[in-house]
Symmetry: C2
Subunit: 397 residues, 2 copies
């Protein structure tokens, strides 16, 4: 006998999509040390943290330096002060949450992987194609079978139950709205169809709301705005895009108290998972996250989001001008467009990098249905976005 590895790891590619893109860019820069590169590939932000957030974290660090105000182990589920702020934020959209339904974490990516701990391995998983690669990779690592719902020009990259590619009924359904990578957003009536479908079949929806802060107008921020969602959905959210926390690490997951499968509360199971395999998010970071919801914090954070929205507008204006099909950019920091001249996405990646010095993400990296599409992000600086779109326009006009 010897220790046996999880052989499912043999079914995921050794390199994560964004690591592969980074490798190719590094290769390019080594070969062309004097060429400038504009990065619109990875979904990382560039605006600094809001002043209010920085101040809150500095004050919290000072607290940690004094015996009287020192915080050791906190609750694994997060501090009430942050949960209360999140509850108020949801209340603005008409969603009532119990404090016990909110679990603070170090980010949506962690929760997205770890939530699968509470599900059996023989669940059938549905993911949209194209999609954030983490959904497929994490399930593949557990040996779950994954089927796809194709997103395409015909359905506006918003697949519905009728777009499921087999006759099977999935047990776990991933929805991401505003979507990564397509930027497409489900409206209330579309989400209602999914919620009704899940409730009818006992499926559980894993709803990724990481980009909800970009939603405008009457579009839903949360799946829990939909009647019936509390018996079929878990929502995963993050401060990464809302408040620039990509390097500061805070997110949260909402597991409703009414969500029961096989006679067990998924909320209690997730609590047990987190208490056993997680020790809470740093006190300092939670104080920073709570500052996002203060009046001053909200104002500063909105300025940053508006800045990125301005970048997205420059990008969608360019696509409009060139008559290129795209989704996103309106309620999302992502613009997802059809590669010009019928190019495939990895080919287009090389053209964009070699000819224009622009880094984006090939649609094929998000799934087969992304083969001829490409993702650019609005997270660069205004200057870089303008420069990139000018070059883009000149080259592809």
């Amino acid at each position: 006998m010897a220790a046996k590895i999880n052989s499912n790891f043999g079914n995921v590619s050794e390199s994560y999509l964004f690591a592969e893109v980074a490798r190719l860019v590094a290769e390019f820069q080594k070969a062309n040390p004097d060429r400038k590169v504009i990065r619109m590939g990875i979904g990382d932000v560039t605006r600094p943290l809001a002043k209010t957030v920085v101040k809150a974290m500095q004050d919290a660090a000072a607290e940690q330096g004094k015996t009287e105000t020192f915080h050791g182990y906190g609750p694994e589920q997060g501090y009430d002060f942050l949960k209360d702020s999140i509850r108020k934020y949801y209340a603005d959209y008409g969603v009532t949450l119990d404090p016990d339904e909110i679990f603070i974490s170090d980010g949506a990516k962690s929760d997205c992987g770890n939530i699968l701990n509470i599900f059996a391995e023989d669940n059938l998983v549905l993911v949209p194609d194209p999609v954030y690669p983490v959904y497929v990779d994490t399930n593949t690592m557990d040996g779950r079978r994954v089927i796809f719902a194709e997103a395409n020009e015909a359905n506006g990259f918003l697949p519905m139950p009728e777009d499921i590619k087999t006759d099977e009924v999935p047990d776990i359904i991933y929805l991401c709205s505003p979507n990564n990578p397509t930027g497409a957003v489900y409206d209330h009536s579309q989400l209602k169809v999914w919620v009704d479908y899940a409730n009818a079949h006992g499926s559980v929806i894993l709803f990724d709301a990481a980009y909800e802060c970009f939603v405008t107008g009457d579009m839903p921020h949360s799946i829990f705005e939909i009647e019936g969602a509390k018996t079929c959905a878990i929502e995963i959210c993050s401060f990464s895009k809302t408040a620039g926390f990509t390097g500061t690490r805070c997110g949260y997951t909402v597991v409703p108290l009414d969500l029961v499968r096989d006679g067990r509360s998924l909320n209690k199971m997730w609590l047990r998972r987190q208490c056993t395999k997680f020790n809470g998010t740093a006190y300092i970071v939670q104080r920073g996250a709570a500052a996002v919801f203060t009046p001053e914090g909200e104002k500063e954070v909105k300025e940053n989001i508006d800045y990125y929205r301005g970048n997205a507008k420059i990008m969608t204006d360019t696509m409009d001008k060139l008559g290129i099909f795209y989704t996103g950019g309106k309620n999302s920091p992502y613009v997802w467009f059809k590669c010009p001249n019928g190019m495939e996405s990895w080919e287009f990646f090389r053209v964009l990098l070699n000819e224009l010095g622009i880094v984006g993400t090939p649609g094929a990296g998000f799934g087969p249905a992304g083969k001829n599409f490409f993702r650019l992000t609005a997270f660069s600086t205004r200057e870089a976005t303008e420069e990139a779109m000018k070059k883009f326009c000149e080259y592809f006009r």
Copy 2:
């Protein structure tokens, strides 16, 4: 079809040991609002963070507030500046680590649970009895079978391969030294026996070194001080006890490049796991952790550790005086002792709480072999420790 839960969760108790202790204490305080309670139960620290660490985090927060110095997504494995500091720390004990062997995380508890992702579920797991409950619970959640090596007075609570209770050879072996809860420490020759055993059988040792900062004299801080460990061991460590990071959250795991099973590199598998399900530890927190290794940081951190060592000395002096058998306290913040008067540990818990207002942790909570033992921690204040031991001495003399 409907979503199916992970039924292995039915095999772990709903409440985590320390949550249960907290509940009983809250109940006691509600019933006796004017009684003072001295907390020596959970392994949480009470000394504030070192000034150097606070300053480093405040400076890092300021960096996050400026475009030019803002840090977004960092490497999932952690920043080189922190890995370099850790490598130097290990070099002091004669251990050479490659930067790629070190993975920074948000704490040992996370890594301890998550590392199991890379192992198959049909591995046979060996844990000492008694032991930190997370080892058993995390494996039970995955459906792995767990066998025990009994720690007892005869082996000084340091079980060796001959103490394995069945004839089976385990695939995964947990060792924790200095041990939680017993405070017992393996010497080099004892660890060498375990390393040779693991290499002979292809087992993998998961070595929990979370308390290594309490080690004195010639005892090993790391399993990698032992020849042959790089082909059979993974080490998990933390800043929680070293630098009071229980509420600040930083740890690291060392997966050697030479560790291969089923023809696959466990280091590469862990990298893939972390890149897929984790997004790195907060930049601010990593800066704080790196400050621990500066000359000023080392000095301040040592003062705190010496403070806790002083508390442990008061506790072991008390046990010596009363002639009570104990382990730990010398190279560990834990004192593990035999309950007086042949009491069982939950009974003793109630006596200690009701009669003396002292909270400890019942040995039975760590496994059947802890039935007549009890854990007290040195992490209280000096005054509380002195007061508790005075009462203890008077009551049990």
